[in-house]
């Protein structure tokens, strides 16, 4: 096993804290939250008090000003526990990052301290019913009206959609300008005309409140504009590597965890007079997966290190996301099989992990988008620009 070298002692100490928090405050209640389709708000406050939210936010905005690895520790420990309900990742890794990177001083002061404490829950409104991977095709409009913008439209598959106190919302301020017409806003959920739609029933991630959001003449002050008008798409592009890296961290971690569960189960379960672990098929399947998991981990850790130096290439992030999410799905499928009938029973964590996993090849950039990004760069390095049509994007 190649030892992980990115963490220091302080991260490992923090990991113990996070693990205790997860074991005490999350794991015992997660099945109930799955039935509810949502986690309680109090969990967010407890997580905030324990220092699990937005670890990198500077002290001047109420945070701890820690390095990115502290956030990584939180994500890893959550995924390791199988608790897919708490939407901390979106809140910390995406929403807080957007506000830190693009927010005005006033926006940072207003939102970040409350995001760190868990009092304000953030969500990110990008996907629409007719625009998933093709983000510039969004139709939600924001029209200027004096000192205000008036927003109309609809979003879907929004994580933290029921709980959120505000949305970082992708809109079109110029419907003719394509990607250059995209603008981000901070929209508070108590604005008139903001409506939460259904909390969607999903294959997995059942404790996470993934929802539709509706905007019907929602008026917000121009001061809620996040970043620059017409620059929303460009702003989002600068954060995609980080988002994809977080997905890779998830997949690398779940892959290792599920292999561990399966090693445990196959060491204990007997069939035909021997342990499942004694069958060559079991050994070989797990040997293959463990090897790929090790490769995934080393690549992901390298991407984390590069990211912290500000050097993570979007293509490398895409490769990490694609490779680990494919492996993640392969692993839960192969491992579920080794659990036999129990693997299909919801009470077994492997069944949940299987159901949770299927979104990773889709969300945060589908594997087809990753392939397009990788292919385009390979060709452009050789001076050949691939046509837009004929590939996904």
């Amino acid at each position: 096993m190649i030892e992980r070298t990115i963490f220091r002692e302080e991260h490992e100490l923090f990991r113990q804290t996070v693990r205790r928090f997860v074991e005490r405050e999350i794991v015992p209640f997660h099945a109930k939250w799955e039935e509810d389709g949502i986690v309680p708000r109090e969990l967010w406050l407890k997580a905030g008090a324990a220092g699990l939210l937005c670890c990198t936010v500077p002290e001047e905005y109420g945070g701890m000003g820690l390095d990115y690895l502290f956030d990584v520790v939180v994500f890893e420990e959550l995924w390791r526990s199988g608790a897919s309900g708490p939407g901390f990742l979106i809140h910390t890794d995406l929403v807080a990052t957007y506000i830190l990177s693009f927010g005005t001083e006033a926006q940072k002061r207003k939102w970040l301290p409350r995001m760190v404490s868990g009092e304000a829950i953030g969500s990110l409104g990008m996907t629409e019913p007719h625009a998933g991977s093709d983000l510039k095709a969004i139709r939600t409009r924001a029209m200027r009206d004096g000192d205000e913008f008036v927003i109309n439209g609809q979003k879907v598959f929004i994580s933290n959609g029921q709980l959120c106190d505000f949305v970082v919302l992708a809109t079109k301020t110029d419907s003719q300008a394509g990607a250059k017409g995209v603008t981000l806003f901070i929209v508070e959920s108590d604005r008139d005309g903001f409506k939460r739609g259904r909390n969607l029933e999903k294959l997995g991630m059942k404790a996470q409140d993934t929802s539709e959001l509706f905007f019907d003449n929602v008026r917000i002050p121009a001061g809620n504009l996040l970043g620059k008008e017409g620059k929303g798409f460009a702003q989002m592009m600068t954060k995609l590597s980080q988002e994809r890296l977080a997905q890779a961290i998830r997949s690398a971690t779940v892959t290792e965890t599920v292999i561990d569960w399966t090693l445990q189960y196959t060491s204990e379960r007997s069939a035909f007079g021997q342990k499942l672990a004694d069958f060559q098929n079991t050994q070989f399947k797990l040997a293959e997966l463990r090897t790929k998991a090790a490769v995934a981990r080393v690549f992901t850790d390298k991407c984390i290190a590069l990211f912290m130096e500000g050097k993570l290439d979007p293509v490398d992030a895409a490769m990490a996301k694609m490779f680990t999410s494919e492996l993640h799905c392969e692993t839960v499928d192969e491992c579920l099989q080794l659990f036999g009938g129990w693997g299909y029973m919801w009470e077994y964590p492997i069944a949940r992990a299987y159901a949770d996993a299927r979104i990773v090849k889709i969300a945060g950039g589908s594997i087809e988008i990753m392939k397009t990004i990788i292919a385009r760069q390979m060709y452009s390095q050789r001076g050949f620009d691939i046509q837009k049509n004929g590939s996904a994007g």
């Binding site: 998933g132 095709a137 029933e201 099989q337 299909y344 029973m345």
Partner: protein, 381 residues
Amino acid sequence: MLANRPVYDEEHALLRDSVRRFAAANIAPRFQEWEKAGIIDRALWPAAGAAGLLCPQVPEASGGIGGDFRHNAVVIEELAYSGFAGPATDFSVHSDVCCGYLLRYGTEEQKRTWLPRMVAGEAVCAIAMTEPGTGSDLQGIRTRAVREGDEYVISGQKTFISNGQMCDLVIAVVRTNPDGGSRGMSLILVETDHPGFRHGRNLDKLGHLSSDTSELFFDQVRVPVGNLLGCEGGAMAALMSELPQERLTIALHSIASAQKAFDITKAYVLERKAFGQAIGTFQNTRFKLADLKSDLQVGWAYVDQCLAQHIRGELTTYAASTAKLWTTEMHGRLVDQCLQFFGGYGFMREYEICRLFADARVLRIYGGTSEIMRELISRSL
């Protein structure tokens, strides 16, 4: 693809139409409700019986329509293609598996008692093999039946039993001789109104949500020796003779479900746009779907060949295992790829592809896992 295959005759086409109408009229309107409840409505059983969907292979003398196994196959295919995996499996276990054992091994009296009621859907039948500690390895079962005078006294526990909440009759695989190895196992009919029998939890599953897959408990359940199905110690031989049919039914279910997933995906990719074009026009989409269509065509040909062999009484364990292994593995790959084309919607329960994906996963496990199929096939080498 389902209709107009040479393996079927005119009468099968008529049944196909009526199964399709039955599913649309009797299952579709209430299906979501049953998925939530984790069980279908009891009234669906007599309705299915009245429509001729249950145990169609039962001879007229025993109250059936005297069909051949292709009638069973039509029911499986159509219910699976309709996307109602729960009822499809419930009925298949009753009609194809349980009824198969009764027809082949039942005494005249057992047949007279049960078959007409099973055909009518008045009695629901389950078969109980798996136990918490033993699945694929049937010889590891511990449920005991001890003979006391004219009775057997049964004690033990079963799990993952389809129709487990609804069943009136259980064909229990039990150990009648603790030292007898595979020859110490017997099949015994257990009426579920006997004292000591208890329906356990209706298990929460990844898919097949409307199927009442349950635990069953036997606590000193007394049944008359006349409830022995076949001969004492004959369970393993009986299972070996009937399992090829069960595997063929799973292969049929699997490929029909896969066909459904393919058909709805084909429609979706032509409709859904991204980057200014229908996603079905991307080369990746076309190539992936071309592969899947090829898989389906080849799969149907093999499954039909097995079905024809089975009608002639020539279906081997090897061929049935191959059919189950290949179709269920193909089915797994296919639903994964099809779901991918639906993007985020594929993860949403309200989209049928999501349900088809979740439902598919168990077909590589129940009725003999893929690993068991490979074992069986390897023995023919």
